[in-house]
């Protein structure tokens, strides 16, 4: 029996799961800020965003985290919280074989942006410190180093629903006995490139950043992972409403009035229409993280999962269906039970 025995989150609401849950429970969106940059000709471009508050001093001290970009700091903080001090110590001493799977949509955009700017200006002085941090698997590599783990470590790329595939990989590793526990992490950072990119899809979207982490192991205390069906592929001509319904059906969720639905709606009408239609008649409790926390790209689905786990833990429901419409690749779902 695979259980989610630890959760961690960094969001625009703050560092930690309690801050995120408090924001979600109150429904109060954190304060927007402006991300401003200048074009080459000097005219400014401003984008409203939700940023993660300044980092607390509780971030782990590690040589690996000295020069990293925000995405790795978010990942580290969420992972530390999901593991907890006792398991961190066990991993460090080799008592736990700890696997790491990171799911990314954007990746390390800040350093990629900075490094490419340096390359265009004068490649002969482009920083060798920045470049390795532009590689997609830098955050997950830092996590393995931080926890002294030589077990498998995978970084996977996809749309906003990719974290479900990360969960699936974690189940494979656990069932195969490759690891004693697996950290599934979905971290994202923003810069002007990605924020402006999101708002090309809709001027009402609020780009955000953060990370979510789930710790999975065989047994232990925490909600059970009941099913992760294969994601339903999107693409040309695929009806998104049908894709969402198919994903939910494949997860074997029952809308019995007591099953919690964690969806991926954002408050942007054009984005939300398929989910509004697919789950119009949902009888049980339902919540969305994006209207409060902003659109965290791939991390939002992680926040959905963490919030669903927390609500199961506190007894809000016996089962939860977590469903995400990813954007341009997949509609994905998973079912959790207490």
């Amino acid at each position: 029996m695979i259980r989610i025995t630890g959760t961690g989150a960094v969001s625009s609401a703050g560092w930690g799961v309690p801050a995120m849950m408090e924001a979600l429970d109150s429904g109060a969106r954190p304060e927007l800020s402006e991300l401003v940059r200048e074009r080459k000709q000097g005219e400014p471009v401003s984008t409203p965003v939700l940023r993660v508050p300044a980092a607390p001093s509780t971030l782990p001290k590690s040589p690996r985290l000295r020069r990293v970009s925000p995405v790795s700091k978010f990942a580290a903080a969420a992972a530390m919280e999901a593991l907890g001090a006792e398991r961190v110590a066990k991993a460090a001493s080799g008592e736990i074989r700890l696997g790491v799977v990171c799911a990314l949509f954007n990746g390390c955009v800040n350093y990629s942006n900075r490094f490419f700017g340096e390359v265009l200006a004068d490649p002969s002085v482009a920083s060798p410190i920045l470049f390795p941090e532009t590689v997609f698997n830098a955050p997950s590599s830092h996590l393995s180093a931080l926890f002294n783990s030589t077990s498998p470590n995978d970084t996977i790329l996809g749309d906003g629903a990719e974290v479900y595939t990360a969960l699936e990989i974690a189940t494979e590793w656990l069932l195969r006995g490759d690891c004693d526990g697996v950290l599934v992490v979905a971290p994202e950072e923003i810069d002007w490139l990605s924020s402006e990119g999101l708002r090309l899809y809709s001027g009402n979207a609020i780009p955000s950043e953060g990370a979510a982490a789930l710790y999975l192991e065989m047994g232990g205390e925490g909600p059970q992972l009941l099913s992760i069906p294969d994601p339903v592929l999107l693409g040309g001509g695929v009806d998104r409403v049908a894709a969402l319904k198919e994903a939910a059906f494949a997860a074997e969720a029952s809308d019995d009035g007591r099953t919690l639905l964690a969806d991926s709606r954002s408050g942007v009408a054009s984005f939300d229409a398929p989910e509004n239609e697919a789950f119009r008649a949902w009888a049980g409790p339902r919540f969305s993280v994006k209207p409060v926390l902003g659109d965290c790209f791939g991390a939002s689905a992680g926040h959905q999962l963490v919030a669903a786990v927390e609500r199961l833990r506190r007894g809000d429901a016996n089962e939860a269906l977590v469903v995400t419409l990813g954007g341009n690749e997949q509609a994905a779902a998973c079912r959790l039970g207490r």
């Binding site: 695979i2 470049f131 790329l157 595939t165």
Partner: protein, 413 residues
């Protein structure tokens, strides 16, 4: 169902075969051209003209001649794919054809490191230069790796769950490893798996900034005076299939996949542990899982980048792994001929291993003038005809991703 709590545990692992392979490298556009090139000991480096290299320390790489169109792919579909995806399509098409498959339902596992970075570069340039957002939404959409791979799958006529692994330079090997595990555990009957990467300015400049590129442009893996790697581009794909399904449809069997192992080197973000600890782990795990002893491996296609630190670490790992048998272990690095294909390296080198099995030869480590004293194995410096039944390939990446795959001729399995 990918996972369900009540699914029965895997009772027995199924034998796994490779029924199709395809390759596109600076050496050539298909299996035949690559086999001929590696058997002749050719190299394939040239000046890079895809982007401005005039201010870089190095101006050459293994650049591919890419056709402007592909048979059976509409002009519109070809244009939606970026350079890397086109390479992936060509190699994947060859792999499917070799497997006797036109397309169909199957999971797809892809390894890439840079993905569609050139598209991201164009988006960035437009954003900083212009006031116009014209074309930017298309660039944002087509920059995304999953968009590119979905386009490629559509153009191949393949439909199934997509998994994109991005573990830097081990990605391609990880992709084949994931596919092997899916098939051996009964999650899929067949999987299309491979890796690709195209040359792009950001990555080229990145390796140059690290001073990892050989100033001469000539990589010399395992040479005492080696001074860096050369970059290349390309793609390698395989069809990974259960042996039972392959035999049932009388498919051509290139080889059996015996094992896959992965581990993480936590020594440093960009430097391997000096003793090659993680490489030793994956080689030991892979040979143990395959039920083999090191002396039963006829050939190792090493990661062998040609950088000072990588080659020492890998050579030490091979010595520790092989023990007394080390002098009999034949090793080469085909990066000496085509360069380092980054996310594509592991899958391309896997396909080169399949060519070695099929055509019974050992590709060479070229450009070696004096072998580094740390090398205790038999470094293959010229292509050789040889009896090759079992091969091992290593792939290591930034961030400490380490992977090993073992393939064997079907007749022995």
């Amino acid at each position: 169902m990918a996972f369900r709590a009540d699914q029965p545990p895997v009772s027995a692992l199924r034998p796994v075969a490779i029924t199709g392979a395809g390759i596109l490298t600076p050496m050539g556009a298909d299996l035949a051209e690559n086999s001929a090139g590696f058997r002749a000991g050719r190299t394939a480096f040239r000046p890079v003209d895809l982007f401005d290299v005039s201010r870089q320390r190095v101006g050459t790489a293994g650049q591919v001649d890419l056709p402007n169109s592909a048979p059976g792919v509409s002009r519109k579909a070809w244009q939606r794919m970026d350079r890397g995806s086109r390479m992936a399509w060509l190699a994947a098409r060859e792999a499917l054809d070799a497997a006797g498959l036109s397309g169909g339902e199957m999971p797809v596992v892809i390894g890439t490191s840079a993905a569609a970075m050139p598209v991201g570069e164009r988006y960035y340039l437009q954003a900083i230069e212009g006031k116009s957002k014209r074309g930017q939404l298309t660039r944002v959409e087509t920059y995304q790796p999953q968009f590119q791979m979905m386009e490629m799958m559509r153009a191949l006529g393949v439909r199934g769950p997509l998994r994109i692994v991005s573990n830097a330079c081990a990605s391609g090997a990880n992709a084949i490893g994931h596919a092997f595990q899916m098939v051996s555990e009964g999650k899929a009957e067949r999987v299309l798996a491979g890796g690709y990467d195209a040359l792009c300015q950001l990555v080229f400049a990145g390796f140059d900034s690290l001073q990892a590129l050989s100033p001469s442009g000539i990589p010399r893996p395992f040479d005492a005076a080696r001074d860096g790697l050369a970059l290349g581009e390309g793609a390698g794909f395989v069809v990974v299939e259960s042996l039972e399904a392959a035999k049932a449809r009388r498919a051509n069997i290139f080889a059996r996949v015996l094992s896959y192992a992965a581990a993480t080197d936590i020594h440093h973000l960009t430097q391997p542990h000096p003793e090659g600890d993680a490489a030793l782990t994956t080689m030991e795990k892979a040979t143990r899982a395959a039920g083999l002893e090191p002396e039963q491996i006829d050939y190792i296609n090493s990661h062998g980048t040609g950088t000072p630190l990588n080659d020492v670490a890998e050579a030490r790992a091979i010595s520790r792994w092989a023990g007394d048998a080390v002098s009999k272990i034949k090793v080469s690095s085909t990066k000496s001929a085509i360069g380092h294909l980054l996310g594509g390296a592991g899958s391309v080198e896997s396909v080169i291993c399949l060519l070695a099995l099929r055509d019974q030869f050992l590709p060479a480590s070229l450009n070696v003038r004096e072998i580094d004293p740390v090398v205790e194995f038999d470094l293959v410096q010229q292509p050789r005809e040889a009896v090759v039944n079992t091969v091992l390939t290593n792939s290591f990446g930034f961030g400490g991703a380490n992977a090993t795959l073992i393939f064997q001729k079907e007749v022995l399995s």
